[in-house]
Amino acid sequence: MSARTLRITLIVLTLLGLAVASYVTYVHYAGIKPACTAGESCTKVQTSSYSELAGVPVALIGLIGYVVILASLLAPEGERARFATAALTVGGFAFSAYLTYREVYSIHAICEECVSSAVIMTIMMCLSVWRFLRGELTPVAPAGAAPAAPSAGAESAAPLGSAS
């Protein structure tokens, strides 16, 4: 997967997560019932005492998290930006894991929006960690030729990290 495709995929996933988090945050503040196919379980989760952390709705924390991840993805491509995305998604994944634990073991109900966000965050973490570990893609020079100038999205590129 080229660096450009990977970045776009991550941006699309972030926007999806952002949409879910925005909806749940709206539901929380509006005090309305969330769209749910599993009866009252979404309402049970989203009105439980675990829906807030130190008085801040977890939905809002998620929303802010997605916005910061999006900013790291829109920043100029580089080692630092890739590290920021990877670190943020690792944090997001751990937070999602904590919330899922609360749903299953403390609230005994599952919220579809929360599960969607957790799945999105898990995929994002895998992709962004892979993106960070493989680093900048450098093109392989054809045999006997001088090294070509780097070009974004070169499919023949070899990951720097895999050179060893």
């Binding site: 005090g31 670190a87 751990a94």
Partner: protein, 275 residues
């Protein structure tokens, strides 16, 4: 050595030097790449460690077990709105919800700490209330039967608190709020503070009067003698249990398989209305 042989020998030496240089360069690049990878893995490891510590702190701060904590302000507001929407505007008198002239009567034997009663109260009861009670066809009497509550004294205290709200015709608001915010069974969550918290969420309840009424000995008698005897007479030993019949007539047991589905109650009410 001819000039040609000398050139060939030079070329071979040159090639060897270049090969050695290329090999050295490749090894250096590989070592550099390996070092970069190690650095990245270390960075991610540090991030993961920090995140794990943060989550453990959050888990400890929010309670590691499954015991429910005190409801949030948002949760409480949501419950108050839900309960008001459910029973608001319906006549209440003591432990009875519904019109006094309703043709069908239901007695609901419950324990405020019983999780199955909660399932019934949050699952099937809202439909029954909106379909039959609000329309004046059914009246529901809430009666107590100790099952899930382990301590008889706690059972009496919470039930008397509900009946005291009934003296202001707000018992159903109290009972509904209690079930909405019910805690983990056997976790000892029902404390004086918890009961006060439930009462404070009952819209329009005069708390000073309610506190005085909690000391009324007739309410304690109703819990420990009247209701307990009625449940015993009916042969009930589990909650929720129901007696249903034409108002003023004979009451009979109402069996159910799924307390969350209102079907069994709808059928019984329809049958009695036709009788």
């Amino acid at each position: 050595m001819t000039p040609v042989e000398s050139d060939e020998a030079d070329l071979t030496r040159k090639e060897r030097r270049e090969q050695a240089r290329a090999q050295r360069k490749a090894m250096e690049e590989a070592a550099a790449a390996s070092a970069v990878r190690r650095t990245r893995l270390t960075q991610l490891g540090i991030v993961a460690s920090v995140v794990v510590v943060a989550i453990v702190v959050v888990l400890i701060a929010t309670g590691g077990g499954s015991k429910k904590s005190i409801p949030s302000t948002h949760e409480r507001n949501s419950v108050v709105n839900e309960v008001s929407a459910l029973v608001g505007g319906i006549p209440q008198k003591g432990n009875v919800l519904g019109s006094p002239t309703a043709p069908v009567s239901l007695q609901y034997f419950g324990d405020l700490e019983c999780p199955i009663c909660q399932k019934f109260t949050l699952g099937a009861l809202p439909t029954v209330i909106s379909k039959w009670v609000r329309t004046g066809k059914l009246r529901i009497e809430y009666r107590s039967l100790e099952t899930a509550t382990r301590e008889p004294e706690v059972f009496k205290t919470q039930q008397v608190a509900a009946l005291a709200a009934g003296k202001q015709n707000k018992m159903w608001n109290f009972v509904e709020t209690f079930y909405h915010e019910q805690g983990e069974e056997d976790s000892g969550y029902v404390t004086e503070k918890y009961i006060q918290g439930i009462a404070s969420q009952v819209t329009g309840l005069n708390l000073a009067q309610w506190t005085t009424d909690r000391g009324d000995p007739t309410l304690a008698t109703q819990v420990t003698a009247t209701d307990a005897q009625a449940a015993s007479n009916a042969g009930f030993n589990g909650t929720p249990s129901f007696l249903i019949g034409r108002s003023g007539g004979t009451m009979s047991k109402l069996e159910y398989s799924n307390p969350e589905e209102p079907g069994f109650m709808n059928e019984a009410v329809e049958k009695l209305l036709k009788a």
